[in-house]
C-alpha cells in the first residue's frame, strides 16, 4: 500500500510542478488575474478545485453519515450559493474588471471601506487556510506515516513553488489538474462500493435502495433514523433553514471564489464558468451523501454484534492514529458515535470515513493510494486560492492602492506580491503546526462572517446606485459585530464560557441574520446621507451591459 500511495502522491505533485514551471509569470495582470485569458471550462474546473477543500473531500461524507438527513445543510448550502453568485455577482464584477474584491468595494464606495474589506478578506481567508494545512496533515500522517509537522512543511513547499512563481496563472492551471485528480479519486471508490453494496454502479441510485436497511440498523444501534428530518440538529427546522441560508450567502461572498470569475475573457465567460463550476462541484456533492450512507452501512454491518477482537481489519491502523476509539470493556459493540464525549462503545472520527471507504469496502491498494493523492489535491488547491487572496489584499489593495498611491512600478508590485505570498505561506505553516485553539472552531464560521460582511454590500453596490460609502461601512461593521458577537457569545472562544443558543439558532446560522442586519443598516444609512457621485453612479450603470451596443448586431434597431 505504501508503494502506491507514494506513487500517486509523487506523480501528482510532479504534474503540479511541471504545470507551475510552464505557467510562470512576469506581470501583475498575469499574477493577479491570469491575464483574463482562462477558457471557460478550465475556469469552471479551477473554481471547483478552489472550492472543494480538504473539508469537502475528507470530512463532508463523514458528517452526513452521522447527521443523516440534516447533512443537507452542507449539500444545499455549499452548492446553492453558486446560483446567487452566477445571477447576482459574477457577471457584473467581471465586467467591472479589476484584480481583487476589496478593490471593487474600494472603488465603488471609498478608501475607508477598501481597508475594512481588505482586512475582512485576510481574516476570513486566513482562518480557512489553517484548516487546509491540518487537513493535508491528516492525509500525510495516515498514509505515509510522516509526522504531521513534516507533512505540513512538504505541502507548503509545493504550494510555495507554484503560487509564488505563477500567481493566479500557475494556481489556475494546477487547480485544473487537481480537480481531475480529486474527482477521479472520489468517484472510483464510490462507484465500486455502490456496485458492491447495491449491485449497481451509480451511487446516486443505489443510495435510495439501501436507506431502509440503514434506518433499521441505526435504530438497532440506538440512533435516529437516517432519513428523519431535523433529528441531527438541536435547533430543528428554523436552525436548518438559517444554517443553509448562511452557507449559501457566505459561499457567494467568499473572496477566493469571487476572484476566480475575474480571470475569464468575457462577461459571458463568467456566466458559463459558473455553470461549469457547479456542474463539476455537483459530481462530488451528489456522490457525497451516497458515500456517507454506504460507509455508515458498512461500518454498522461490520460492527453489529462484534466484539473488540473480531472487528474488521481496517479499524486497527486508524485506531493507532487516534481516529477510532474503542471502549474495550463493553464486550459486544452496542453503540457507535462520532462524538468523543458520548461514551459510545465505538467512536469514529468524521474525518476518516471517506479516506477509509476503500479499505472498508475492501478495495485494492492502488485505489487507496489514489485517495491520498485526491485528499492532498483538495487541500492544496484550496490553500493556494486562499493564499492568493491574502497576498493580493496585502500587496495590491493595501500596499499598491493605499501606501504607494498607485505609483509603484510593475516590477516593485510583482516583488511585493511575491513577498506577500511567501509571507502568508510562512504564517500559514506556523498556524498549521500549532493551530490556535479557536481557529478550528472558527473555520466553519468563516461563511457566517463572509455572509454578514461582503455579500450585502456587493449586492447593493451592483443593484442600487444610491448605496454609499457611509452606508457600506456602517453595514459591514454592524454585520461583523453582530455575527461575531453572537459567535463569541455561544462558543468557547478567547477563554469565555459558551452560552445557550438563543431560540435554538446555532452560531453557524447567525450569518443569515447578520446579512439581513447589514442590508438594513446599509440601506437606512445610505438614505439618510448624500448619494454617491455621478461618476460612481455611471460606473454602476455601465457594469450592467456586457459590451457597448452595436446597431447591426442588434438587428432590428
Amino acid at each position: 500500500m505504501q508503494f502506491w500511495t507514494f506513487f500517486f502522491l509523487i506523480s501528482s505533485f510532479g504534474i503540479y510542478i511541471v504545470i507551475a514551471w510552464r505557467s510562470r509569470v512576469k506581470e501583475t495582470k498575469e499574477f493577479y488575474v491570469a491575464s483574463r485569458g482562462v477558457p471557460t471550462i478550465a475556469n469552471g474546473a479551477a473554481v471547483a478545485a478552489d472550492w472543494m477543500s480538504a473539508a469537502s473531500f475528507i470530512g463532508m461524507a463523514g458528517m452526513i453519515a452521522f447527521l443523516g438527513s440534516d447533512g443537507s445543510v452542507y449539500l444545499m448550502g455549499w452548492t446553492g450559493g453558486y446560483v446567487l453568485l452566477a445571477l447576482l455577482l459574477a457577471p457584473y464584477l467581471r465586467k467591472w474588471g479589476k484584480f481583487t474584491v476589496p478593490e471593487f468595494v474600494g472603488d465603488r464606495y471609498s478608501d475607508g471601506v477598501r481597508v475594512i474589506a481588505a482586512i475582512c478578506a485576510i481574516v476570513i481567508s486566513f482562518t480557512y487556510v489553517v484548516g487546509q494545512m491540518t487537513g493535508g496533515g491528516v492525509v500525510f500522517s495516515r498514509f505515509l506515516g510522516l509526522s504531521a509537522e513534516w507533512a505540513v512543511v512538504v505541502a507548503a513547499l509545493v504550494i510555495f513553488f507554484y503560487s509564488v512563481l505563477g500567481g493566479m496563472k500557475g494556481i489556475t492551471y494546477t487547480q485544473v489538474a487537481q480537480y481531475i485528480v480529486l474527482i477521479t479519486a472520489y468517484l472510483i471508490p464510490a462507484v465500486a462500493v455502490s456496485q458492491q453494496i447495491g449491485g449497481f454502479p451509480i451511487p446516486q441510485v443505489t443510495y435510495g435502495s439501501i436507506l431502509a436497511e440503514l434506518d433499521q440498523l441505526r435504530i438497532d444501534f440506538g440512533l435516529d433514523r437516517f432519513t428523519e428530518a431535523f433529528a441531527g440538529r438541536d435547533g430543528g427546522q428554523l436552525d436548518v433553514f438559517l444554517v443553509t441560508a448562511s452557507l449559501m450567502i457566505g459561499t457567494a461572498g467568499l473572496p477566493h471564489v469571487i476572484i476566480r470569475f475575474y480571470t475569464t475573457k468575457t462577461v459571458r465567460g463568467a456566466r458559463f464558468s459558473a455553470f461549469w463550476a457547479l456542474l463539476f462541484i455537483s459530481l462530488l456533492y451528489l456522490t457525497a451523501p451516497a458515500v456517507g450512507a454506504f460507509t455508515k452501512l458498512n461500518l454498522l454491518r461490520g460492527t453489529e454484534g462484534a466484539t473488540a477482537d473480531d472487528l474488521p481489519a481496517w479499524i486497527a491502523p486508524w485506531a493507532e492514529g487516534g481516529y477510532v476509539t474503542l471502549n474495550e470493556e463493553s464486550g459486544v459493540i452496542q453503540t457507535v458515535s462520532n462524538n468523543a464525549a458520548s461514551g459510545a462503545d465505538l467512536i469514529v472520527s468524521n474525518d476518516i470515513l471517506v479516506l477509509a471507504s476503500p479499505e472498508i469496502g475492501g478495495m485494492p491498494a492502488p485505489i487507496i493510494g489514489l485517495m491520498a493523492a485526491g485528499g492532498m489535491a483538495a487541500a492544496l488547491s484550496t490553500a493556494a486560492g486562499l493564499l492568493l487572496v491574502i497576498s493580493s489584499a496585502a500587496s495590491h489593495d493595501i500596499y499598491y492602492r493605499m501606501i504607494s498611491k498607485e505609483k509603484a512600478t510593475e516590477k516593485t508590485q510583482m516583488l511585493v506580491g511575491r513577498l506577500a505570498m511567501a509571507g502568508a505561506l510562512v504564517v500559514a505553516i506556523f498556524a498549521g503546526l500549532n493551530p490556535p485553539a479557536f481557529v478550528a472552531q472558527v473555520v466553519a464560521f468563516a461563511f457566517g462572517l463572509a455572509a454578514s460582511t461582503f455579500f450585502p454590500i456587493l449586492i447593493l453596490g451592483i443593484f442600487w446606485k444610491k448605496a454609499n460609502a457611509k452606508g457600506a461601512a456602517a453595514g459591514m461593521l454592524t454585520g461583523l459585530i453582530f455575527s461575531g458577537g453572537y459567535m463569541i457569545y455561544t462558543l468557547e472562544l478567547f477563554g469565555l464560557a459558551a452560552n445557550e443558543h438563543i431560540l435554538g439558532i446555532s452560531p453557524e446560522g447567525i450569518g443569515t441574520i447578520g446579512a439581513a442586519v447589514n442590508f438594513t443598516v446599509t440601506i437606512v444609512v445610505s438614505n439618510l446621507t448624500r448619494p454617491p457621485s455621478e461618476e460612481v453612479q455611471e460606473m454602476v450603470e455601465s457594469i450592467r451591459y456586457p459590451a457597448k451596443q452595436q446597431l447591426e448586431a442588434a438587428g432590428k434597431l
Binding site: M76, T79, L87, G208, A229, T266, Q549, E552, A553
Partner: protein, 107 residues
Amino acid sequence: MSDATQEGSSGAAPPAENDWRQRYWKKNLRLMIVLLAIWFTVSFGFGILLIEPLNTIEIVGFPLGLWFAQQGSIYTFVVLILVYALWMDRIDDEFGVSERNGKGERE
C-alpha cells in the same frame, strides 16, 4: 460589421436614446427573479419547509423530501445557472450588447 454604437451615431431624440438600457435591465431582472423563485422553492421550500410532508411519498427508496434536500435541489441549481447563461445570450443579442471580436464573432 461596423462598430457604430448607439451613443455615438444615432440621431434619435435624447429621451429615447437610453430607453433600450431600461428595457434590457428589466428583462434581465425579470429572468433573475423567476430563476431565484425556483431556486428558493426547490431548496428552502421542498428541502426544508415541506420536507416532512414530502417524506411520506417514497420514490425508488427515497423519501421525496430527503431526495430534494440531498439530490434534487443540486440538480436544479445546475440547470438554473445553465438556463440563465443561455437566456442572457439571447437577451444580449437582442439588444446588441454581446461581446464580439472585430469580425463580429462571439468571444
